[in-house]
């Protein structure tokens, strides 16, 4: 039988089609809507509206605040947790890890509904603590995304390095500060990126927790449900720019810190 030999270019075709259909095309549509008016003419109305409306700018600031707090809380919980799981020498560390990853297997709305019941039981009326509930809900939802990359980065670290540091006179704290922590930076970066960005847009958590507050995602949602494609698209576009900026900054930070080791992609 004569084998069919595919060149590298041919093999890339399916991926290219996928990329065009689901990444490039939507982006173009998004940008088109963001910079046109209802008659289809080029317009900066939506852009001007975004920055002149105190409601949107306020929401942007609030979203950034929520994202920041959620990311910080996730990192604070996940870092020691991942460290213990990867390095603690626990007998069933993989089973324990599964315990933290498993919520990802359960439907997201189901999880949040369950959380809502627990919070209602604790707080009585959910409306009293919108910010707290948002943070709790999102932390619960996003924690695995922070634990996993950190856990892998700890696992990847060569244990010889810790021994080498101790051999050269470093005590336990110094070993951590000078070797373990700097080498876990790529893990921290991917964790932060995977939590910070979704936390700005995932308004479903807020909605489901009867939340009256707005984050960027809620704004887009409300514009779109009112068939206002232009303002909604512009907000999405602004978020895209913010995401791009953050990615660039964290990537540079990571590169500086771990030299030319590479291996980390966001």
């Amino acid at each position: 039988m004569k084998g069919v030999v595919l060149t590298r270019k041919q093999l890339a075709i399916p991926y290219a089609i996928f990329l065009i259909l689901f990444v490039a095309l939507p982006l173009i549509i998004l940008i088109y809507y963001a910079f046109t008016d209802s008659a289809g003419r080029f317009s900066l109305d939506a852009l001007l509206h975004f920055f002149s409306d105190t409601n949107t700018t306020g929401t942007l600031v609030y979203s950034l605040g929520v994202s920041f707090v959620v990311t910080a809380v996730c990192l604070l919980i996940a870092y020691p947790l991942a460290y213990i799981l990867a390095r603690g020498g626990l007998k069933n560390s993989s089973a324990l890890l599964l315990l933290f990853i498993m919520p990802m297997w359960i439907n997201f709305t189901l999880r949040i509904t369950a959380l809502k019941e627990i919070l209602t039981l604790l707080e009585g009326n959910l409306a009293y603590y919108p910010f707290l509930n948002t943070v709790v809900g999102m932390t619960y939802d996003f924690l695995p995304f922070m634990v996993l990359p950190l856990y892998t980065s700890f696992l990847k670290q060569d244990k010889d390095l810790n021994e080498a540091a101790a051999d050269l006179g470093a005590g336990a704290l110094q070993v951590f500060l000078r070797v373990t922590l700097p080498l876990s930076v790529p893990g921290i970066i991917s964790g932060v990126t995977m939590v910070f960005l979704p936390a700005m847009t995932n308004y479903v958590v807020l909605d489901m927790l009867y939340n009256s507050t707005y984050i960027m995602g809620s704004l887009i949602g409300s514009y779109f449900s009112a068939y206002d494609w232009h303002n909604g698209s512009l907000i999405a576009f602004v978020l895209l720019i913010i995401i791009l900026a953050i990615t660039l900054v964290t990537n540079r930070f990571g590169e500086e810190d771990d030299g030319k080791r590479g291996g980390m992609t966001v």
């Binding site: 060569d158 051999d167 070797v179 771990d258």
Partner: protein, 497 residues
Amino acid sequence: MSDNIIELKNIFKSYDGKINVVEDINLEIERGEFVTLLGPSGCGKTTTLRMIAGFELPTSGQILLDGKDISVLPPNKRPINTVFQKYALFPHLNIFENIAFGLRMKVIEEKDPATGKVTTRKLKDKEIVEKVHHALEIVDLEGFDKRSVSTLSGGQQQRVAIARAIVNEPKILLLDEPLGALDLKMRKEMQIELKAMHKELGITFIYVTHDQEEALTMSDKIVVMSDGCIQQIGTPEDIYNEPVNAFVADFIGESNIFNGRMVDKLKVEFCGVAFDCVDDYPKNQLVEVVVRPEDIKMIPADTAKLTGTVTSVTFKGVHHEITVESGKYELVIRSTRSAKVGDVIGMKIGPEEIHVMERESSDNILEGGMMNSGLFAYEGTMIPVKMEEQYPGSVTLDEEMVKLPDGREVTASDLDMRMIIPIDAISMSDDPKAGIFAGNIISLIYKGDHYKYVVRTKNETDFVVDDEFLWNENDYVSLVVDMKRVRLEVMDKEEKK
């Protein structure tokens, strides 16, 4: 008096209280020596090194540094540095910072000459820069300060690892197979450089390797280890010329090893021929004989006591390796002269070239007890026995009672007994159900006409077995015992203690 920098006293190491990885290591190392721990993988040499470094704590025993007990001191408190097998350079730091790592940790004591007060301080940046540059000079990597680790070749990384260790001016430098990852040419170069470095620095080097040639080239003293125990300590010449047992002879260099017997004073018989020798053992003593391949001279067949037929010739550059069959024995000769396959040649071995060693008892002895009068129990294995056959003079009275040769009638299960299985009463089989015991081959030595195997069972009993066929290390074999040749003995109460 000798000036020992480090002493290991009765060191044992086991994990989870099970098997001893290191068993009763006693070692004294003099200041400034280049000592090599040599042995096959899993012999405990790396574990020993890690205990000296402080990464592992001995289960029992003492490690004395300059006479002070450092057995439980953590690694960062020991004036000892390590060059790791896989270098373990910090990927997030450049070369300069890698080497400066230890210096930045260091706290030095200073005595004010005026007041006599002792103060401590960290090293100044200037001092660190100086020291790092000096270390880079020693390893020939000047100007590499700003390079990142990943841009270096294996050999260069190795040099950085050495610089990182010696920059701290340790009392002892530990090297754990540091050249293992380098190619042959690089390895030879580094061997010479390491040796030169040792001379220049005057630091005590403890080197771990499984490469006997490397050990012979570099060391002042070699410690040959196997199975967690020290087999022999000595200079490279001692170890090569006067191995204490067949294991050492086999491990160090090429050798012909034969079973032999002393037939007269200073006369040993092996390969069916009596030779003059210089090692004095009583007549009829069973011995093992080691002859190095380069010590067998080829002479015309008609003038020789020992003759044989050439079965293979391999050209090895400087010499030829010639295999000769003499009766049922096989000998390997190294000679600058060649021979033709099929030639009948004579072989001459001078008295000085024959190294004779006492042969250890070749019986396998199992200490156990009787379950009843027909069943010997050893570590959970039941072996059916017949008292009359295995223990001449005794009589089985019934299932429980036995009459001993001295006339006493005792309950069999009260007896502590020793089972003696002669080495040639055991044969190996690859059918795991064929024999009483089964285990893995942990070592084998070729003895000219047969192989001597050590088979280790699951519960750590070693059996010595001779077999003329070649099995591989780690093969799982079962041991078939010819019960007719097995003897039983009653053990005294005192012996049991």
